[in-house]
């Protein structure tokens, strides 16, 4: 843990302590002393305190939504008039989870959008641009279908309940790890940041470890080992970066086109093979086009929803 993180944790502990009703005078004095001790303490505290107080606005949300989210305890909620209603909702939800097949949840991101979801088992998914997934988490089974696009998975460890990602004909099975899956029609790419996953495709299978990537299409399944830096680059989208490492202009244009409605078109086939690299904001397709114009002397022409690149 870094210094900053230790101070952050201490500041959060103070706030959590103060958030309790039985906060004493002595504790207040101890806190004051801690805050006086260093500016780092003070700014960490101010920062967390402001966010925690901003969260007071959550009270505007209907209480029933809180109760339904916490169905096992909803029965005991006496706080609000809605409690009775919550009991019914809670019971219905309970029944649905236990007696009916687990409902599928669907999530989607628009072009250029990125979004993080938390699943009921504690796993997290980050969806990249233009992505559609369905999830089904029920007792004993954890399933996600990647219908299109790209997603990063941070899977809560649970050896007894494998987490399965189904992307077209490919199936990725994990026990607890961090990895990403990208699907374009029937081509599926998997990159593993940490842990191990098994990729299956039409009877073939490979086991990937950290920094391994695999590509599957309808005919074959291939794996290759990358450096940690390469895998990190591939996952640059999670931080809002599109990292292009020695791609052809055509491949780079394809990457940008995933994130933008305005599509890059390489009009001159002789240009398609030109190799380029760099780190970009994916939505800044105009900046990329300007770079091609100024840095490589190419012609750039905007027409309707297209940016046409030629010599």
């Amino acid at each position: 843990m870094s210094d900053a993180q230790r101070i952050d944790a201490a500041a959060a502990d103070w706030l959590a302590r103060r958030d309790n009703d039985n906060w004493t005078q002595q504790e207040q004095q101890a806190l004051d002393a801690w805050l006086q001790a260093s500016t780092a303490h003070r700014v960490a505290y101010l920062r967390l305190d402001s966010a925690w107080r901003a969260a007071d606005r959550l009270a505007e949300l209907p209480a029933a939504s809180a109760a339904a989210r916490h169905w096992p305890w909803a029965r005991f909620s006496l706080r609000r008039v809605a409690a009775g209603l919550a009991l019914v909702c809670g019971a219905a939800l309970f029944a649905a989870l236990y007696w009916a097949p687990a409902p599928q949840q669907s999530y989607a991101t628009a072009i250029g959008e990125r979004r993080t979801l938390a699943l009921a088992d504690g796993s997290r998914l980050t969806l990249n641009t233009g992505t559609r997934v369905r999830t089904s988490i029920e007792a004993g089974k954890r399933n996600v279908w990647l219908d299109s696009g790209e997603a990063y998975f941070d899977i809560a460890h649970d050896a007894a309940h494998p987490f399965v990602v189904q992307a077209g004909a490919s199936r990725v099975t994990v026990l607890g790890t961090r990895f990403a899956v990208r699907r374009e029609d029937e081509v599926v790419k998997v990159a593993v940041l940490e842990g191990r996953v098994r990729v299956e495709q039409a009877g073939q299978q490979v086991v990937l470890g950290a920094n391994d990537t695999a590509q599957a299409d309808s005919r074959r399944l291939a794996m290759s080992r990358k450096t940690p830096a390469q895998v990190a680059q591939q996952l640059g989208w999670r931080a809002g970066r599109l990292v292009i490492d020695q791609l052809t202009l055509e491949q780079a244009a394809h990457e940008f086109n995933r994130y933008n409605r305005r599509q890059l078109v390489i009009a001159d086939p002789a240009l398609s093979g030109m190799v380029i690299g760099g780190s970009f904001a994916p939505e800044n397709v105009d900046g990329f086009a300007r770079l091609l114009q100024q840095g490589f002397g190419l012609r750039v022409e905007s027409r309707d929803d297209k940016i046409i690149i030629s010599r």
């Binding site: 900053a4 952050d8 959590a16 305190d49 966010a51 107080r53 007071d56 949300l61 706080r79 088992d121």
Partner: protein, 189 residues
């Protein structure tokens, strides 16, 4: 703690820029593991300089501090990347770092809050929801969930950090919420 004017200024003017600050740091620093340290160091520098005099342009001041810190660190690093240094010294990123999320108010802010809440791990989310949405005290939350009060406090501590990370990245801070409260009170006879 009595909030001093300086604390107030820091919360109102500097914290809402955290999203843009983090993007700036992330873009200009290779190792993501250093980011929490860098952020804290920038805040400390800004807060301490502001002690003598409040800067007229908080945003420009914040980014200048961030840039100076990165230059200091790069110079101190054992392997100096000439490229990085040149980039930092020549460019003034502050201009394109104007953060639109600063104006997320009203309904949008509530949505961001809800989203931040949804992203918490399950147990933590339960505790925070009962505390903030249902307005229970920590003791009531503990009774309600049949867990120790110490556990509730631990989950709250965890929740505070996660919420801050997520809310400040999107420019939601208490400054705006408080401004709202003030307006309402003014309107009353």
């Amino acid at each position: 703690m009595m909030q001093t004017d300086l604390d107030d200024w820091f919360v109102r003017e500097i914290l809402p820029l955290e999203g843009a600050l983090m993007r700036y740091l992330r873009r200009n620093w290779r190792d993501a593991a250093d980011l929490p340290d860098l952020r804290q160091e920038v805040y400390v520098r800004v807060y301490e300089s502001a002690r003598t005099r409040l800067p007229e342009q908080p945003q420009a001041f914040l980014f200048a501090s961030a840039r100076n810190l990165l230059i200091d660190r790069t110079r101190r690093a054992q392997i100096v990347s000439i490229e990085t240094l040149a980039d930092l010294e020549q460019s003034d990123h502050a201009v394109d770092e104007l953060s639109p999320e600063r104006h997320a108010g009203g309904r949008g802010e509530l949505q961001l809050l809800q989203q931040a809440l949804d992203e918490l791990p399950q147990r933590c989310r339960e505790v925070v929801s009962l505390r903030k949405i249902d307005g229970m005290s920590q003791r009531e939350v503990a009774q309600h969930m049949g867990i120790q009060e110490a556990t509730v406090e631990k989950q709250i501590s965890k929740g505070i950090r996660a919420l801050a990370e997520s809310l400040l990245a999107k420019g939601v801070v208490v400054g705006m919420a408080r401004a709202g409260v003030r307006l309402v009170k003014k309107g009353q006879p």
